[in-house]
Every structure is written in structure tokens, then in C-alpha cells.
């Protein structure tokens, strides 16, 4: 059955051009993702990579009479793509991307986990004892959080004094508390379907909440504001 399906898949010019086109798009999105590190390109890459596979997989059981009757799954290529292959490929690209993104980010920046009393204490103060801290090997001052991990670059550490470093780490812990990486993920997902979501962004509100959290933990906004000034100055250089 499988051999027959392979033959019938490759005998249709439409399928073959879909395969070539989709994988060419997968290659382009992969290269753009490597270039700019934007997560949405990773999702697009996975989507184009998976689409022909799902198109093929859906064609496999078409020898079974029962399946042939299902929603034109075997007759019309276009409906089959729209009803089955595209939603499945999207779903798996999203699940795969969500699973892969943190590991890829860590690899991209050669992230190393740091342990120590200082980090354990910060996490405990934030009420997030399970948080892990990573250092990113780049001189650009960047910090972000993915799920329960807080990541901060060597460059950020060396530009700030320890109070300012704490302020940034607490800001990121604030994000972990709000689970905003999950929120950002769903936002990115919504953006795939509707560009209008751009206008309903909650990113600013999230940043303000994370700032407020850091300030309330430190009892002052002084350190956080100093850190922001220093990073802005770096970006102007």
C-alpha cells in the first residue's frame, strides 16, 4: 500500500511541484531564521517542511473505500490541502516550534546554566523557586525569559552593577510569573492568522507589569531605570 501511494504521489505533477515549492520555501525560511533569529520564521520553516509530508500521509489510506468517501479527501487536491494538510501541518509546526524554540535559542547563544546562592535567592524572593538561570555568550546586552527559564547575556552582566543586574533578572522573573512567554506564543499564533492582532498587542502591558514587579521587589525603580538607560546608551553606540 505504501509503495503504491509513493508511486501515485510522485506521478501527479501537482504533488511534485508542491513538494519542491514547499521545501524550497522551507529552505528560504530556514535561512532567514538563521539570519535574523526571529521565531516566526522558525514556525514558517517547520510549516513548509511538514506540508508535503502531511499531503502525502493523507493520500496513503486512499485505497480504503471508507476513507475515499470522507470529505473529498482523495478526489480534490485543493480541498484536501485546505481541509486536511494545511491545518495538520500548521498544528504540528506550532507544537514542534513551541517544543524546539527554547532549546534552539539556548544553542544559538551558547547558553550556559548558572547556579549559585544569588540566583536561588532571587527566584525564591519572586516566589518561583524552580526557575533556572542561563548566561548567553554575547556582548550585546539582552535578557529574556522562555517558559520557566531566565536568560541574560554576558554583555548585560558586564554593563550593569549588581543591583541593576538584579533589577533586570527580577523583571524577567516578573515575566515568568505572568507566564507571558505563553501569552507571547499565543499572540504569535494569532498573528499567523490575522495581522490585525498587531493592533491589539498586550506586549506593552506585560512589560509594564514586569517592571512593576521588579520595582516592588526592590522597593525602588532606581536600579531598573538605570539599567534601561545603560542599555539604551549601548544601543545608540
Amino acid at each position: 500500500m505504501l509503495a503504491e501511494s509513493v508511486v501515485s504521489f510522485f506521478s501527479q505533477p501537482l504533488h511534485v511541484s508542491l513538494l519542491i515549492g514547499s521545501w524550497a520555501a522551507a529552505l528560504i525560511t530556514f535561512l532567514s531564521w538563521r539570519e535574523n533569529g526571529k521565531v516566526r520564521w522558525l514556525y514558517a520553516h517547520l510549516f513548509f517542511l511538514l506540508l508535503p509530508l502531511f499531503d502525502f500521509a493523507i493520500g496513503v489510506p486512499c485505497q480504503i473505500p471508507f476513507v475515499q468517501g470522507l470529505l473529498s479527501m482523495c478526489s480534490l487536491v485543493i480541498t484536501r490541502a485546505v481541509i486536511f494538510a494545511i491545518p495538520f501541518a500548521l498544528l504540528f509546526a506550532v507544537l514542534g516550534g513551541y517544543h524546539l524554540a527554547p532549546a534552539l535559542y539556548k544553542r544559538m547563544y551558547r547558553a550556559k546554566e548558572v547556579r549559585g546562592r544569588r540566583y536561588a535567592l532571587l527566584a525564591k524572593r519572586a516566589g518561583l523557586a524552580g526557575t533556572r538561570f542561563f548566561v548567553l555568550d554575547t556582548a550585546k546586552p539582552i535578557a529574556f525569559s522562555i517558559r520557566n527559564d531566565v536568560l541574560m547575556s554576558v554583555g548585560m552582566f558586564e554593563l550593569l552593577n549588581s543591583k541593576e543586574q538584579d533589577a533586570v533578572l527580577l523583571h524577567e522573573l516578573g515575566h515568568v510569573r505572568q507566564r507571558s512567554s505563553l501569552g507571547k506564543f499565543s499572540l504569535a499564533l494569532a498573528r499567523l492568522f490575522s495581522p490585525l492582532v498587531h493592533f491589539a498587542s498586550r506586549v506593552n502591558a506585560e512589560e509594564a507589569m514586569a517592571d512593576a514587579f521588579a520595582a516592588s521587589m526592590q522597593g525602588t525603580v532606581k536600579h531598573l531605570q538605570a539599567a534601561k538607560r545603560i542599555v539604551e546608551q549601548y544601543l545608540r553606540e
Binding site: K112, V114, V135, D137, A139, K140, V154, G155, F157, E158, L159, N161, S162, Q165, I230, Q233, Y234, E237
Partner: protein, 119 residues
Amino acid sequence: MKSTVTAFDAMLSPLEQDILKVIWPDRKLRVRQIYDKLKGQRKLALSSVAVLLDRLHDRGVVKRNVETGRGGVRYIYYPTHDRDHFEKSIVETAVNKLIEKFGSTAVSYFNERFSRRKS
């Protein structure tokens, strides 16, 4: 005239030269230590030193390791080559580019120049 720009890629800006002057004798230094040594001589920000060291690192002029200690994590910068080696490689690149671009004109000029110096 893009090639003339690349010919002098190895050349350094005044601040980059100052950074290297600090880093050559002392070898391994942190950004903040380099900044402390320079801030007496001229008005500058810690972030400028950090940016320039990062660029020198990208160009292969300096190398760096990550060091974890009290006060967090930081880079330790050190020169890839000593001063003599570095200056020699600047001259080498420049002369090679001149010969590549102007061939015999460059070579005959060098000859003329050297004989004038000897006399």
C-alpha cells in the same frame, strides 16, 4: 573605491588604538578594568568600551573568555597577537593590496623609495 576601504580594515580608530595600548602590556582584562584605565585620559562611557571590544573581537584582533565570579559573569579580553605581530600584519595587508591593485607601479615605487632611504 571600496577596495581601499577594505585594504585598511585592519586599521584602528583612535579609541580602538587606546584600548589596544591598554590591553597589550596587561594581557587579560575585563571591560570595566579597561574602562577604568582609559577614563582618566578621555571622556567616554563604559558602553563605548564594551561595543568597541565586541567589534575588535568580531574582527579577530582580541579574544575573550567567559569568567564567572562575584558580581556576575563577564568577559576577559586578551590580544590575539602581540603589538609587533599586529603592526606587521597591518603593513602586510596594506602592501599586498597595493601590489595587487597597482602591480609594477607599486613595486617600482617601493624600489625607488627604498633606494632613497638608503642614500
